[in-house]
Symmetry: C2
DNA sequence: CCGTGTATAGTCGCTTCCGACTAATAGGGA
DNA sequence: TCCCTATTAGTCGGAAGCGACTATACACGG
């Protein structure tokens, strides 16, 4: 019964949506996309349906009706349960309180930065810096658009966080490029 | 033959190790742990062996001998191939150059911060801030220990990056707590 | 009014990932 | 010396994740 605890944060997103109103899986995905939440949650068709099933297995959501329109495939509409509402808040609280180990690809790569040699490393970091700048701009304009359209800040607060962290990444990247170039980051090995 | 491209960064770490000298899987894992690289790479026994197999399937590494000591299980020792060396650098370069979308748990949680209500949100963020501070301290001391022991900075450069980003996270967290508390981050909904 | 592209809705099989389990040896204290 | 624990080394089954594929409906230009 009590299958393995759900870790996938997509489940959090789906649960959060169902607290608003009952929906069928496809609608959950398109609603998230509409609200640009697909930058915060990885949405893939397969995983979507698996996750919905997992949530139902755990009793956090339940099917309320299956609608058939014309000859289209049946849509199963789900709603949250009382347990689901409680667990949503508990999980949310825990995710905020306790930082968990994650393993970003960039950290992995930086661990072996030495292998690129100083010139190529600086070069690659420079390209990254350009991309980061674009990302920051994109996040900022998205932020201005939504708040400009009357949306409360809180609805896009994660974008503020992302932009802030991206700025720090850019900052480190630029500093490191400079240090490589001026020799203050010595390069051991035969390069 | 050419199975799906490897994404798991553990493969990058293993490949990097094999560039130094041939090893058997268990040795790769313990070497990484010894060098504290297990904060940058997620090492789980199961995945370790699967990943080694995947690398071999791709022809990036190959078994060079199988040693049997006493009655212990056979150890298969692997070495990198020429293709492996090339792909290692190519992959590394790409990981540095292009930021890819990742979905940290915290971003997911912050997306629904509103659901906690202002008091509980501020409270949870405060606990996070404490944890982040500890993490920063831990990273810093680890950094000082290794460089103090004569290790070149470049060997722990990823820790510098991690510490820098953690500081930005802490910064945002504190600022947001303050904004919640002084009302400059308005809270819509019935809380 | 016919074809073509796009939005709607979901299924399925394959790969990857994980962690519990097995099993032998080395080391150290009673 | 004998037992207990830690370390070394790896296997295996099941769960989760992914993306290619299926299939209908609808809008719209020619």
């Amino acid at each position: 019964m009590a299958t393995r605890k759900i870790r996938n944060t997509l489940a959090l997103a789906l649960l959060g949506l169902l607290l608003e109103k009952p929906m069928h899986p496809y609608e959950m995905a398109s609603t998230l996309r509409e609200r640009s939440k697909d930058t915060s949650f990885k949405i893939t068709t397969g995983t979507l349906y698996d996750t919905v099933e997992a949530l139902a297995r755990h009793g956090w959501i339940e099917p309320v009706e299956t609608v058939r329109e014309g000859n289209r495939p049946e849509r199963t509409v789900y709603a949250h349960t009382e347990l689901g509402r409680e667990e949503f808040v508990r999980w949310l609280d825990e995710l905020i309180r306790e930082p968990v180990a994650e393993y970003p690809k960039f950290v992995a790569a930086v661990s072996y930065l030495g292998a690129l040699g100083p010139e190529r490393a600086a070069d690659a970091l420079e390209e990254r810096a350009r991309h980061l700048t674009e990302r920051i701009d994109g996040t900022d304009t998205a932020l201005h658009e939504t708040t400009g359209a009357g949306m409360p800040r809180l609805f896009m607060i994660e974008a503020e966080y992302i932009a802030h962290v991206l700025r720090a990444e850019l900052d480190w990247t630029r500093r490191t490029i400079a240090e490589i170039r001026d020799g203050s980051l010595p390069w051991p090995g035969n390069h």
